[in-house]
Amino acid sequence: MSGSRDVQPAGALDGVRVLDFTWSVAGPVLTRNLAILGAEILKVEWPAHADPMRSAFYAADATYRGFNNGPFFADLNVGKKSLTVDVRSPEGAAVVTRLLEQCDLVVESFSSRVFERWGFGYEQLSAINPSIVYVSISGFGHSGPNRDWDTWGPTAQAYNGLTHQSGLPGREPAGWGWSYMDLAAGYTATVATIAALLSARATGVGQYVDISQIESGIALNGAAILDATVNERAFSGTDVPIGNRSVVKDASQNGGTQSGYRGDEGVPYGIYPTKGGGYFDYCAVTACSDEQWFALRRAMGDPPWSARGDLDNLSGRIESQDEIDEEIASWSMGFEKYELMEYLQGCGVAAGAVQSAEDKMESDPQLFSSNLWPYLTHPEIGRHRFQGVPFSMSPSPTRVEERWPILGSDTASILEGVLNMSAEEVADLEARGITWPAGMGRDVDYGRELW
């Protein structure tokens, strides 16, 4: 640790060195978060089967489809370094063992038991470095009857109940339109990982953290779980799922209500069509209190249908929710989505335009002011906006560092800088196919995208 304070303050996790064997999305989300917080991430791959996300997709004007110019990979792995080594060779394993001595954390997202087979189960890891934290992220976790089953984000969110809850009554579950559990498991893993690092720092003893992508979603659905276990309410029947609503009449349960477990409740609570009628021309409008309902009524010009006394309280509005939604949907068509949002917010009503990625990047004034997509210059794909940092800290900065894991490009500097190898030793390892496959070029042209 340096004794003097840098002019540019260091990130909160400055000095934390991570050996990162993760691939695909959930694991790299974790190490991206750690990089944002200042940790040094050494992403380990073997070029013969590099992280498949490297070829997830390419820019419209890409002239080749290589290891390093896939934009999704670059976005997900910004700020990390790349180390290539054949872990399955004895010499490669020896390099990894020496690196483990110099790391605070090792992370992997292989199928259960793969890392153990390579000789890096937690017992071996702690023998090498007692203070090391070992984090595994897998679909089902490293124990239990389904431990060898495979999942991807969408199958994980199907298994853990999140998909089932979303959609329209009587229709198939709509779930999510992307791999939510890749993000959410990566975020959950970030909490566990930093907690384990804190504990290791205090006690000098590391530990094994076993993260299941499926389980990490259960705590994100807790009220629904309790409704099932405590109230014995099955989330089934023709009135569920409940679309965009927060609460509905529960026809099957004696005049009770079915919650959407959103953490807030109100009527109206919906996404309504707006002028233009395009694919993204919608605006969310919610009234989570009687006060907001009255504000909305006034904003709509107190139309006669809204003046009924039974609509003055939530239970009456739940009873008439279909009718209220129809009325608002015909009124909302008179406004552009941002126009409606601004008008209603001015009247004290919670409203928000449905935003596409384009809307967020080109139209959202709030995100523009928070600089959420900084321009960075990537050596192969040029100057572009990359996803930035979701929170700010002071005095320890959070930032996306302008570097990417160009495959193998940091191997020599890591071996020399961290392991004090000589340039000759490093060249020898490469010549013998330990740090780069013999006879393989430094880049490939995959020819096509992953999917």
Binding site: D75, S199, N231, F280
Partner: protein, 407 residues
């Protein structure tokens, strides 16, 4: 339920990872997950609530459907392991008590609306004057600046603005507009990153000393949580479209969800069907005469299969329709096809795998004379215990934390 949920997490001689950390929490639904995560890992969370309780106590569902400040299941889940102290921060004496507490804690987790503490003369600067090593974390809807900072919000408003709703719903031609997923995910994602930021700040304090000012905004969090959607726009000028239950794409892909014989849906991912997996799948379907024409040479390579994936998926759908969902899933997984059941929440607690991993735990409600089944640890820290206990009743710990003579 007869199982024994304990997950090596019961009373233990080892201390929780966050033993000794004390957090003062103020919440209206945006910060309480962060507090719960820290509490269950061993931190002490003192939740300061107004006399009528924090807002999530007034959100359903309720225990036995009986409305009351101590019966919200929403509150129960997100407030396990915490203490509840009632202070009326509009009153001078209670403000003084609050500031005294601030002097003794490691973290203030402030989930009140933008500007709320300032208006009580309890702004972050005042708190840090009280405790220079304090980690102050403010969690708001839109942040501390920008044109929308005073805007009203809700879960749905955040899911709309953050880009989540736009890409969730049904495929064309059955699209019925954006359908934002349930479960309170705007606050959930916010809570996960809030807890991460606080822990990083504590790590930094251990390392070099000193407190931290953290600013988390739900709108920023959601806007950065749609995976490939932002890169697709930046690099391809294409927007993601609504496709039920599968990878996010800006173009229509074959469906993954199929209705099984028992009415339950399966998520049958048709990607990564390499030669070996495809051959095993076809042999399996064929053993029941349901392989259709998939043995034909038009399906012999990855490239050819990609061109005809729509038809392959139709054949998968017919096979699913002839079997019960859970059987279909285990038969598929045996062949390394990564398919999964679309479980309802109430089906999870009986899942054998999750039971064996103790993914659910009993939590004692001694005041009600019952033990109830809760979600267990979202992660297994093998070396430090995770444990939980019921959420506090409103003001349950006021006397113990702020004795009357002091108030």
């Amino acid at each position: 339920m007869s199982r024994e949920p304990s997950r090596e997490h019961g009373p233990s001689t080892r201390q929780g990872a966050l033993e000794g950390i004390v957090v003062l929490e103020l919440d209206e639904g945006r910060a309480h997950l962060a507090g719960k995560l820290l509490a269950d890992l061993g931190a002490r969370i003192i939740k300061v609530e107004p006399p009528d309780g924090s807002a999530p106590r007034r959100v359903g569902p309720y225990h036995g459907d009986v409305v009351g400040p101590d019966s919200s299941l929403q509150f129960w889940h997100y407030n396990t392991g915490k203490e509840s102290v009632v202070l009326d921060l509009r009153e001078e004496t209670d403000r003084i008590s609050f500031l005294e507490l601030v002097g003794d804690v490691d973290v203030v987790l402030d989930g009140l609306a933008f500007g709320a503490l300032d208006s009580l003369h309890l702004d972050p600067a005042a708190l840090i004057r009280q405790n220079p090593d304090l980690v102050y974390c403010g969690v708001t809807a839109f942040g501390n600046g920008g044109p929308w900072r005073d805007y009203a919000s809700s879960d749905l408003v955040h899911l709309a603005l953050g880009g989540v709703a736009a890409v969730c719903g049904y495929d064309e031609p059955h699209d019925d507009g954006p359908i934002a997923p349930l479960g309170g995910q705007a606050a959930n994602l916010t809570g996960l990153l809030t807890a991460s930021a606080i822990l990083a700040a504590l790590y930094n304090r251990d390392r070099v000393g000193g407190g931290q000012f953290i600013d988390v905004a739900t709108h920023d969090v959601l806007s950065l949580s749609t995976e490939m959607m932002i890169p697709y726009w930046e690099f391809r000028q294409m927007n993601g479209i609504r496709q039920s239950g599968r990878h996010g794409r800006p173009y229509l892909t074959p469906r993954w969800n199929h209705r099984c014989r028992d009415g339950k849906y399966i998520n049958a991912l048709p990607l990564y069907l390499d030669n070996e997996r495809f051959a095993k799948m076809v042999d399996w379907f064929d053993s029941e005469g349901l392989a259709g024409d998939l043995r034909a040479s038009e399906y012999a390579t990855d490239q050819l299969r990609a061109e005809r994936m729509g038809h392959i998926v139709d054949v998968i759908g017919e096979m699913c329709a002839a079997h019960d969902c859970d059987d279909m899933v285990s038969d598929a997984q045996r062949r390394r096809l990564p398919w999964g059941p679309i479980n309802a929440p109430d089906q999870l607690v009986d899942d054998v795998h999750l039971q064996e991993r103790h993914a659910f735990v009993y939590v004692e409600h001694e005041n009600l004379g019952v033990s109830l089944t809760y979600p267990g640890a979202p992660y297994v820290l093998k070396g430090t215990p995770w444990s939980t206990r019921r959420a506090p009743l409103l003001g349950e710990h006021t006397e113990a934390v702020v004795p009357r003579e002091k108030k």
